[in-house]
């Protein structure tokens, strides 16, 4: 019986860890971000939180709204 209990606890722990990873990945995907590609091949990724990216993302939201009418 104790062995079964240990297995159950381990399964529950693994399940909750997998759930946490899934939720974290989903949250990351849902985060607003902008990627800027420059002529020299450099890439700048901006995520929401600081003033400049927020302004850029506001423009992007306006564009999406304009496209959706």
């Amino acid at each position: 019986m104790p062995r079964r209990r240990v297995l159950a606890v381990a399964a529950a722990a693994a399940g909750s860890a997998a759930g946490a990873v899934f939720l974290r990945r989903r949250a990351t995907r849902r985060r607003e971000r902008a990627e800027l590609y420059f002529a020299d091949g450099s890439l700048v990724t901006l995520t929401q939180g600081s003033p400049e990216p927020d302004q850029l993302l506001a423009h992007a939201r306006d564009l999406l709204a304009a496209a959706r009418g």
């Binding site: 849902r30 971000r33 902008a34 993302l57 423009h59 992007a60 306006d62 564009l63 999406l64 304009a66």
Partner: protein, 140 residues
């Protein structure tokens, strides 16, 4: 303008992810679109604002950008003086969309004669040849 229409028609044909696309110049003049004129004008204006704001983020020339939002993604690609703005649903195949937009934008700049697809080289009809069996194989 026929090649513009062709390029955009081809874009909608090859990319099912793109919901709206507008080609415009640096002044915001719409050169072609797959949406109605009013919406195209608004998209060009907003895309130009976005592109100009993004240009300030780096020292180099900006060539393309994408912005992912919870309900969709916007793309702006520049080729010389022309730009194309497009929108998709959430989580598109970014690389593929960029490729399709660049192809479309290049199609805009080409002469009509260049846009004509080259005739595919004809393959010689396949001949069936039979290799005579070796005597050893035939014997076994």
């Amino acid at each position: 303008m026929a090649q513009a229409a062709d390029a955009l028609a081809h874009l909608t044909e090859i990319s099912t992810q793109i919901q709206a696309a507008v080609v415009f110049d640096r002044e915001g003049t719409v050169l072609g679109s797959i949406v109605d004129d009013e919406r195209a004008g608004r998209i060009a204006e907003k895309a130009l604002e976005l592109f100009r704001a993004a240009e300030k983020q780096g020292n180099q020339e900006l060539v393309q950008l994408d912005a992912s939002l919870p309900d969709g993604t916007v793309f702006v690609v520049r080729d010389a003086d022309r730009l194309i703005a497009a929108t998709t649903g959430p989580e598109p195949t970014v690389g593929l969309v960029f490729y399709d937009l660049k192809t479309c934008l290049r199609g805009f700049g080409e002469e009509p004669s260049k846009t004509k697809p080259k005739p595919k080289p004809r393959r010689a009809s396949a001949k069936r040849t039979t290799t005579p069996r070796k005597k050893d194989d035939a014997a076994s």
